[in-house]
């Protein structure tokens, strides 16, 4: 039996149900769903209504493989550097299960954590025109719209910055997708059908992140 929500409830549900999904079934994403996802992106807020975003839809298997290689390479380098400088060990210090800790280190330092673009039926690469004031904000708003529509459609997605965060990987991505110099590669969004449900990730309490009138003065006095 389907549930009924008013608009506010439905909006909050899409926001709260969103997960970062990195494993997908082989089922393709339909063109109808992809159209809705891209329409949601197009409707994002934009400073000066500049709409700097452009979207490259990648389904080709060989290109997806290269996206996975670029993403995995970048993540693997960064996480290995974290491991070599002991920062990763500090991050996982509270995890007592040694086997889980070892598996996490392996997944991160190998770059496997970001290689899933290769297996996603669809990847949307979000790029933005540089000759505007608000490129990172506009494109990020478009990406969030993508993620919420994906959730509303019962699909899964992950926002991947791995192929863009390091300028060297961004150069590789630009070359792969023939992205012109006047555009910045912002992120990759992998989309597909989730293979299993995922638990929500913890969020900080509102009382710890919201201030009244000026920084430091809690807006919420009690747990909210």
């Amino acid at each position: 039996m389907s549930e009924t929500f008013n608009l506010a409830e439905a909006t909050l549900k899409a926001i709260q149900d969103r997960r970062s999904i990195r494993e997908y079934s082989a089922e393709p994403v339909s063109d109808e769903d992809l159209n809705l996802i891209l329409e949601a992106a197009r409707q994002a807020p934009s400073g000066e209504n500049a709409q700097p975003w452009r979207f490259i839809v990648v389904k080709d298997e060989a290109t997806r493989k290269k996206l996975g290689d670029i993403s995995g390479g970048g993540s693997g380098r960064r996480f290995t550097a974290e491991f070599m400088t002991k920062k990763m060990q500090q991050r996982f210090a509270t995890l007592e299960d040694e086997a889980k800790k070892k598996a996490a280190y392996e997944k991160l330092t190998s770059g496997a954590v970001s290689m899933f673009a290769a297996a996603a039926p669809v990847n949307i690469i979000v790029i933005g025109r540089k000759d505007v004031w608000d490129l990172p904000y506009d494109t990020s708003a478009a990406i969030e719209n993508i993620l919420l529509m994906v959730t509303a459609l019962g699909l899964g997605a992950c926002w991947v910055i791995a192929p863009c965060i390091d300028v060297r990987d961004e150069i590789r991505l630009r070359k792969l997708l023939n992205i012109p110099e006047e555009y910045k590669a912002v992120s990759l969004i992998s989309i597909g059908h989730p293979t299993r449900p995922h638990r929500p990730r913890p969020r900080m309490a509102l009382k710890d992140i919201v201030f009244e009138e000026a920084f430091g003065n809690p807006y919420y006095k009690e747990e909210a």
Binding site: D69, T80, D166
Partner: protein, 154 residues
Amino acid sequence: MSEKAISHAYLNGLVFDLEKAFWDERGRGCRFRMMEVGREIYESDCKTRIQSAEIPAIVSAVQEVLIEKGIVGSVNCAQEDPTLIVSVQGCLHLPVEDRMLEKGIEPFTCVPANLIIMGIEDKLNRQVELAEIKCENGVCQLLLVVFDRPAAVV
């Protein structure tokens, strides 16, 4: 335009302001956006001087260029697979790093490191990560990690 050399204090003041402005905008992500700084020097001065596809030869060529230009006093390296530890002494830009540290910001970019990394990626086709920059007593110690993964993915 005057050919008179500009003062190091003026140069480093500008470099600090630029780095600080970038840090304020991008935070710790700065490091990954600065890896191409020095590309022109690499292409015009370092690339042809690297005589063999060996890491010590790459470091040596970069050292030669940087000493010639009056940027550093010396560059030395020690390899312990998969790491490469590079010591840079007498760097012209050390005051920038000192000011960053005064502000509580870990140094996040280093031209000698970038040039060496460009050389390794170019001549050995291996990816490299700049893991850490430590500056103490006038010496910068750079921790690089060299991967087997090819630099030319595409």
